[in-house]
Amino acid sequence: MDSLKKEMLQKKAAEIRVDIMEMLCEAGSGHPGGSLSIADIFAYLYFSGELKLDPKNPLMKDRDRVILSKGHACPVLYSTLIEKGYIDRFNLKTLRKFGSILQGHPDMKKVPGVDMSTGSLGQGLSVGVGMALGLRLDNSPANIFVIIGDGESEEGQIWEAAMAAAHYKLGNIIGILDKNGLQIDGFTKDIMNSEPIADKWRAFGWKVIEISAHNFDEIENAIGKAKEFKDGPVMIIANSVKGKGVSFMENQCGWHGKTPNPEERDKAISELTGALKK
């Protein structure tokens, strides 16, 4: 990736993270950790030009689909949609408030650009399988990106979907596992160990690509390869840091579902913008 593109993506990712902080501080409840861990990947998906999307035409026929199966991380999705121009910036102040389009978990009937309502974990990949089957019947070139959590991967339904996607050789599904090592009650390895996770996906018939979730070269390379591979589903295992970009939130279980107060928000934002200047 050339340095200009990388700089642009870094800037976008920082802006998304700043919006996440603003949004959550204003709301007073919500989920920072799992939003920040996937922010670089969202910046890449929406701003690299890699996906076929049109903010002016959110239901465009052959658009690529994005399903945030770990729906509690919706601040990252909402911020991205705001940055991309799908929805107006004033909405940022309304997150989780009565009457807002920005519900506590994503509602596809309310927010343009949201391809699926989520919130109850473990269902997004199955929905992706359905979309993939339907779009394939229509000979659509669209890809379906499904973002799942590592805690979420404990749901049996994830593995039912894994089987189905491989069984139907769905080359149009690209899974992204946000492997941040944490869930609510603690470290994933202590709560319900799912390792060796890459071997599990391979055993279920998926092509697996392992990357750092915070390295744009690796993200670009992985998504490029995943798109090329048409024989079956691909899982990108994105090794991430929960709370990435805000020092006091990084790898801290306590920041799964706690929001920053105004001082913490300001500290977070100055860190995020400071890192950008360096």
Binding site: G71, F98, L102, G104, G119, S120, Q183
Partner: protein
């Protein structure tokens, strides 16, 4: 007028506690002497408050990760070995994600599992529709053999948990997130199948359950100030329901209003209608969620906007008398 019976059991302290907190404290206290008690959770122990038990008895706590179906059937397995499993997660996931496991693994063999689900109703607030159980009572009530209980405060929760430990069979206990007033003192006794009359009147029968009782109580008191006295009943035992108490009251007042933080289809209101339509046809108005999904917002803001807050209760009573 507050009944003489209620006067003895009403608390005089002004304290607010969430029923989920009372739940965690009670299983932990009971766990000291009853070594068969085990607690199970699905990555929400700090919210369901089974974490209190886990801290004290780490060997008797099992976190199943985010795998509700697995947890429910495993609870059934534990029950076959003589353990008394308390299986907890949010009410949405317990009763919808794992409905078949509860039915087939727990209820059909009538195993001694206590499903104690928290964050029921739209009173959950900001998390929104996917996290607000408005159909859990309907689902649990429709499965044969499950006792369905919905305590209204910390004291009633404690008594309910003490009761279900002694009862042999599957129970569903509906708990809530938000801190609410402690209405009863410790002399209150809970019995499965029994409600309690808190106020006595002739104009209408007002029956509430769970989270809604503290709100309905305020409404009943305001109505009394305006000269409208109602029979006000708290019904924690939704299945079996207190038939005698409801029939006796409906005979006198001729009109019943039910209030619940649940869809009006399948919950307390439905249970009351089923009873009265067979045994004493009486007009019943069901206040609650009118068959639509919840939303994000603040607890009381939502309940008011959905039309079953204090003001709606008062207006409804006035409209029928």
């Amino acid at each position: 007028m507050i009944t003489d019976f209620a006067k003895k059991i009403l608390s005089t302290e002004a304290k607010k506690v969430a029923t989920r907190t009372a739940y965690g404290d009670t299983i932990t206290a009971l766990g000291e002497t009853n070594k068969n008690i085990v607690a199970l959770d699905c990555d929400l122990s700090k919210s369901t408050m089974t974490a209190t038990f886990a801290k004290k008895f780490p060997d008797r706590f099992f976190n199943f990760g985010i795998a509700e179906a697995d947890m429910m059937s495993a609870a059934a397995g534990l029950a076959t070995t003589g353990k008394i499993p308390f299986a907890s997660t949010f009410a949405v996931f317990a009763t919808k994600r794992a409905a078949d496991q509860i039915s087939s693994s727990i209820a059909y063999p009538h195993l001694n599992v206590k499903i104690c689900a928290t964050h029921a109703g739209i009173s959950v607030g900001e998390d929104g529709a996917t996290h607000q159980a408005i159909e859990d009572v309907a689902i649990m009530r429709a499965i044969p053999g499950i006792v369905v209980l919905s305590p209204c405060d910390a004291t009633e929760t404690k008594k309910v948990i003490e009761t279900v430990v002694e009862y042999n069979g599957p129970c569903y206990v509906r708990l809530t997130r938000t801190n609410i007033p402690v209405l009863f003192n410790d002399s209150y006794n809970f019995k499965i199948g029994k409600g309690i009359k808190i106020m006595e009147g002739t104009k209408a029968t007002l029956i509430s359950t769970g989270f809604m009782t503290h709100i309905a109580f305020e409404a009943a008191k305001k109505l009394e100030e305006q000269g409208i006295e109602v029979d006000f009943i708290n019904m924690a035992s939704i299945k079996p329901i207190d038939e005698e108490l409801i029939i006796e009251s409906a005979k006198k007042t001729k009109v019943v209003i039910t209030v619940e933080d649940h869809n009006v289809i399948g919950g307390l209101g439905s249970a009351v209608c089923e009873l009265l339509s067979e045994k004493l046809p009486t007009k019943v108005i069901r206040l609650g969620v009118q068959d639509k999904f919840g939303a994000s917002g603040e607890t009381y803001e939502l309940i008011n906007a959905y039309g079953f807050g204090e003001e709606s209760i008062i207006n409804t009573v006035k409209s029928v008398i």
